[in-house]
């Protein structure tokens, strides 16, 4: 315990010296740092902050120091996160490499692959995207058809992926490919390759929100060195499932809290009071008030549950089944939050372009409402999560 308190003092001192002032202010969407070869830093302090954190390995605090990580224990990491929250530090790096690929590589990759790929993820030098879904393989992901054929020590990849997040900005892709057409789950492998390889092309998909965070990604005779296959040939489904658990945990945090992510920064109740009025300190519309209450109670109970399960996982082991609980509940909660925001703000939540009456923050909220509709689809639909809970947790038969 004394060691941990000493660690906290060190963290505090280091943050005081190394976290630039603007990195302790709320982050506008266009200053989010994703790293990568072509990263542009609108705010130069973002880059400074990333480099400082990466030098300590604290972009990946619990990864082994041998791979560039912070090598922190869970307790130390908890202290680091507390101190980061305390000074309201922005995340130094947003990265699918950190959230999804890295944990899978730590578990399944060869030593050589870990040495090669993990440090550049920690430093934010390579931006990764995920090649999973295909036009014919959505909820039935294992039905994927993108093929990889081995000839000598090179795979030739052909096919199409869809819903590839930020593929047009990514440097590398982790990709599920079919290496055996005679079987389903046992014919899938996990392949890594450079997006600048000849034959790779991307096409953004415009969404209902007006944004294009996803792409279609095409592979036309893409040559990939055999050494970039992770794990065993035809055993990629195991890696894919584990990685999906990390993805689901990442998405499920979105429903937390009554505060909104948009630049208006109001709580639901605050927005309702502003636009519907107050009656003795209460939201004037009793029906809306009840909806908000229900949502906030669910949100609080959900946050407590995330904490409880983390503690229990630390005390015992397995967390795998619970990631579906969080994915299902968290994304449904997030969708409900935005529906409630429309109920609370009325037409102020229904503008499309900023103008004299509609602030950029309000438009952000509107676009986020539309974005939230994808939360319960991406990373496995709510219905798929319920199937997983029924099968894996409750033991109900197919």
């Amino acid at each position: 315990m004394a060691d941990l308190e000493a660690f906290r003092k060190d963290v505090q001192a280091w943050l005081e010296q190394n976290c630039p002032p603007s990195m302790r202010t709320p982050m506008p969407d266009d200053e989010t740092v994703w790293g990568g070869r072509n990263a542009k830093y609108k705010n130069p302090e973002s880059k400074q902050w990333l480099d400082a954190m990466a030098s300590k390995g604290w972009t990946a605090p619990t990864w082994p120091a041998a791979y560039g990580g912070g090598g922190l224990s869970k307790d130390e990491n908890m202290i680091l996160q507390q101190e980061l929250r305390r000074i309201k530090a922005r995340p130094a790096l947003n990265s699918f490499g950190l959230w999804m690929l890295g944990p899978a590589l730590l578990e399944f990759a060869s030593e050589e692959q870990k040495q090669r790929f993990l440090p550049e993820i920690v430093r934010g030098e390579i931006r990764w995207c995920q090649g999973y879904s295909e036009p014919g393989a959505g909820s039935d992901l294992a039905g994927l058809q993108t093929s990889a054929v081995l000839d000598g020590d090179t795979y030739t990849v052909n096919g199409q992926k869809v819903w590839t997040s930020y593929a047009n900005h990514a440097d590398w892709i982790f990709c599920l490919v079919r290496t055996d057409k005679t079987v389903k789950h046992d014919g899938i492998s996990f392949l890594l390759f450079d997006m600048t390889t000849p034959g790779v092309s991307t096409k953004p998909i415009q969404l209902i929100s007006g944004y294009s965070p996803f792409c279609e990604t095409f592979f036309d005779d893409v040559k990939v060195p055999a050494g970039q296959l992770v794990g065993e040939l035809n055993k990629g489904w195991t890696i894919a499932k584990r990685l999906l658990q990390h993805e689901r945990s990442m998405i499920s945090g979105m429903g937390l809290g009554g505060a909104l992510s948009g630049a208006t920064g109001q709580t639901l109740a605050g927005a309702a009071k502003e636009h519907l009025g107050e009656d003795n300190g209460k939201v004037a519309d009793p029906v809306v008030r009840q909806h908000i209450t229900q949502h906030n109670m669910d949100s609080k109970a959900f946050a407590l549950t995330m904490r409880r399960v983390q503690e229990e996982a630390k005390a015992a082991n397995d967390v795998s089944a619970t990631s579906s609980v969080f994915k299902f509940f968290g994304t449904e909660l997030n969708k409900r939050k935005y529906e409630l925001l429309i109920e609370s703000m009325g037409t102020k939540m229904l503008g499309w372009e900023p103008d004299d009456s509609y602030s950029a923050g309000e438009i952000d909220n509107t676009r986020s409402w539309l974005r939230s509709k994808a939360n319960s689809i991406e990373g496995g639909t709510s219905e798929v999560q319920l199937n997983i809970i029924a099968k894996r947790v409750l033991g109900l038969p197919d």
Binding site: A269, R308, T322, L394, L396, D398
Partner: protein, 377 residues
């Protein structure tokens, strides 16, 4: 706080689980109901529960208890909930013991708590007067009479009221119904002249009574005259949280029985648990129950750690668990089909208990309102 149980708590939970499963399966509640047992609970069982230390879990050792705190009592209540065990655990060991711990004088604590802990004293709290829980809406009066007070009024839905030998009575010493000011708590001997109690036969086969006070002389004041509401409110929050733990146990039991049934019952040549129409509902209830486990554990710890958000945690727990228990007990009946609505099957007991427990100490609507008020909207 930690969500993970320490070794002492695990031992307590395991011993409660073993004891209650053996001595008090749901068939015991059926027996009490069918034999129209005069006490409404098994007094021999209650003595054994006291010997196990269950009756005095929250009572400090200096007053004869075991001092395991509310988290400890919650574990026992959860196990009791699994078996729908009828006992004075809620009325006496949770509700009245809490009131004494919060507002009692040294004499009152010394005089009553050891008897609660050893199982010899059953106590009841007489507060509500209408069909809904409304702790400020009290019309019963207490008038100063020399050194003492004289109580008049009628109390409804007094848990274990017909069998308790001491009562804690909330009565108005000033103000009007609805005012939080002007309420006072009294300790009253149930055998005192002017006390008439009549037992209700409730749908859940548990004890509740109507008690009329006709010029009844109070034994003593619990806390300050006119300052009873603060003690009552704090006591009720602890009772709401404890009862939520019992309800969680009942909801989990009804749910687990249903999942087992889905794996056994065959129709159309397959087990009905293979149907997605049932799977998804079962999986959603699993998520709801996971949330219930968290809010109950957190609220129990809030009491033990004397946190400043006990009221909010109590309303969150009672409302969340109440809604889930109502839903799970209804779905349990539906998913069992025809046998679910037979008296022979035990599920009906869980359905009935869910609604009475929800109404006790404030239902889902009451606590949703209260949560919003505490949060300031």
């Amino acid at each position: 706080m930690s969500f993970v149980l320490n070794e002492e708590q695990q031992i307590l939970r395991d011993s409660a689980k073993g004891f209650i499963a053996e001595k008090s399966p749901v068939t015991e509640l059926r027996r009490l109901r069918d034999t129209k047992d005069a006490n409404g609970f098994d007094t021999a069982l209650w003595s054994q529960m006291a010997e196990m230390g269950f009756a005095g879990i929250i009572i400090p050792e200096e007053y004869g208890g075991v001092g395991f705190g509310y988290r400890g009592l919650g574990l026992v209540l959860e196990e009791a909930g699994r078996s729908l065990t009828a006992s004075p655990l809620v009325s006496t060991s949770l509700l009245c013991a809490s009131a004494l711990l919060i507002g009692g004088s040294e004499d009152q604590k010394k005089g009553l708590l050891p008897k609660i802990a050893d199982g010899s004293l059953v106590m009841a709290m007489a507060m509500d007067e209408g069909a809904h829980h409304a702790p400020a809406k009290i019309a019963a009066t207490a008038k100063k009479d020399g050194d003492s007070f004289v109580i008049n009024g009628t109390k409804s839905f007094v848990l274990d009221g017909h069998i308790a030998s001491k009562l804690i009575v909330a009565a108005r010493t000033s103000g009007k119904p609805g005012d939080t000011k002007g309420l006072t708590l009294f300790i009253v001997d149930a055998g005192a002249s002017g006390v008439t109690s009549s037992r209700h036969i409730m749908v859940d086969s548990r004890n509740a009574a109507e008690i009329t006070f006709n010029n009844v002389k109070a034994e003593s004041v619990l806390g300050d005259v006119d300052g009873g509401f603060a003690i009552l409110d704090e006591t009720l929050d602890r009772a709401r949280i404890g009862l939520s733990a019992e309800m969680l146990g009942s909801a989990l039991e009804a749910y687990e029985r249903t999942i087992e049934y889905l794996k056994e019952r065959k129709q159309f040549g397959v087990v009905i648990g293979s149907f997605q129409g049932l799977k998804h509902r079962a999986a959603k209830m699993f998520c709801d129950l996971e949330l219930c486990k968290s809010v109950v554990a957190d609220a129990l710890s809030a009491i033990d750690e004397r946190r400043n958000d006990i009221a909010l945690s109590a309303s969150l727990a009672k409302s969340r668990v109440g809604a889930t228990f109502n839903e799970v007990s209804s779905e349990a009946v539906q998913m069992h089909g025809g046998v679910g609505v037979t008296d022979e099957y035990e599920l009906g007991f869980f359905l009935k208990r869910a609604r009475v427990a929800d109404a006790t100490f404030g239902n889902v609507a009451f606590h949703s309102q209260r949560y919003a008020e505490i949060e300031g909207y």
